[in-house]
Symmetry: C2
Subunit: 150 residues, 2 copies
Amino acid sequence: MEHRIDRIKKQLHAQSYKLTPQREATVRVLLEREEDHLSAEDIYLLVKEKAPEIGLATVYRTLELLSELKIVDKINFGDGVSRYDLRKEGAEHFHHHLVCIECGSVEEVVDDLLGDVEKIIENDWGFQVKDHRLTFHGICKQCQKATVKS
Amino acid sequence: MEHRIDRIKKQLHAQSYKLTPQREATVRVLLEREEDHLSAEDIYLLVKEKAPEIGLATVYRTLELLSELKIVDKINFGDGVSRYDLRKEGAEHFHHHLVCIECGSVEEVVDDLLGDVEKIIENDWGFQVKDHRLTFHGICKQCQKATVKS
DNA sequence: AAACAAATGATAATAATTATTATTATATAA
DNA sequence: TTATATAATAATAATTATTATCATTTGTTT
Ligand SMILES: [Mn+2]
Ligand SMILES: [Mn+2]
Ligand SMILES: [Zn+2]
Ligand SMILES: [Zn+2]
């Protein structure tokens, strides 16, 4: 935890931004809920528990900044809100997601499965890939079981 | 064109919806601008040229309906708006996109490159894939040339 | 024609995000 | 240290996209 915070602090300093108490509180929430996919509002409410005086706009600004520095990835699963996802330590690319159309659960796929596809895009399409977003929509394990039973 | 409209008409009738003049005008705009990725507002303005009396809410309702029937796919490229993309004739899955982070251009990749990845997701993760969204972010051909020149 | 259901247009309401502005904290220079 | 400049913040207003409401229209079924 402290180690991750330290790395992020350095990434901020490298661009001459500082890790203010508000920014640190926000990062801590993101670290504590790393598996989740929280909206700005969600994060705001959680940060308030640590730092009750924080304003919503500051949370938005912090998330915006962390996005620019590629510390978090901003993603949209099709409901009206943006969600913020901490990038896995050392990961080159954003990870993939499995979204269940029955129960709404979101699972993470940390292995990068797109190496070959990326080569095709670069070679056949002449497009220089920097990053990607891949989401599968379907039925999760639990919901499959539930369907068989009923 | 008329052939595609006819097919869509049948898809609607199959679920006992009708192809009203407003819906038809909307579908015509989508067909005419098939390569583009229009927002609801964009579509509204274009439909108005054909059917000036149409209301914005009707456009939203129509797009919602077409999404449910999988005639269009709703997608979000990270700016605040939803965009609507006609599904290619006979396509099983939504196609892929290449978004240039320099100039903002969006290119379409119609070949489905995810067959193998999908197998891994189904076998190793036990997740039953119904559809997917894949977007690459990077530098398009034109912008690469521009960079070399300068 | 009467009755009913589906669809529409106008517009109000909602919700997410961004902009503004006065204030506060932090860093730098004299 | 004190003064001064800069960056960041909180509160809140404004904006924007989308959805909800409701009276009216259209089309269909008796
Ligand atoms: Mn994730
Ligand atoms: Mn497309
Ligand atoms: Zn599920
Ligand atoms: Zn480009």
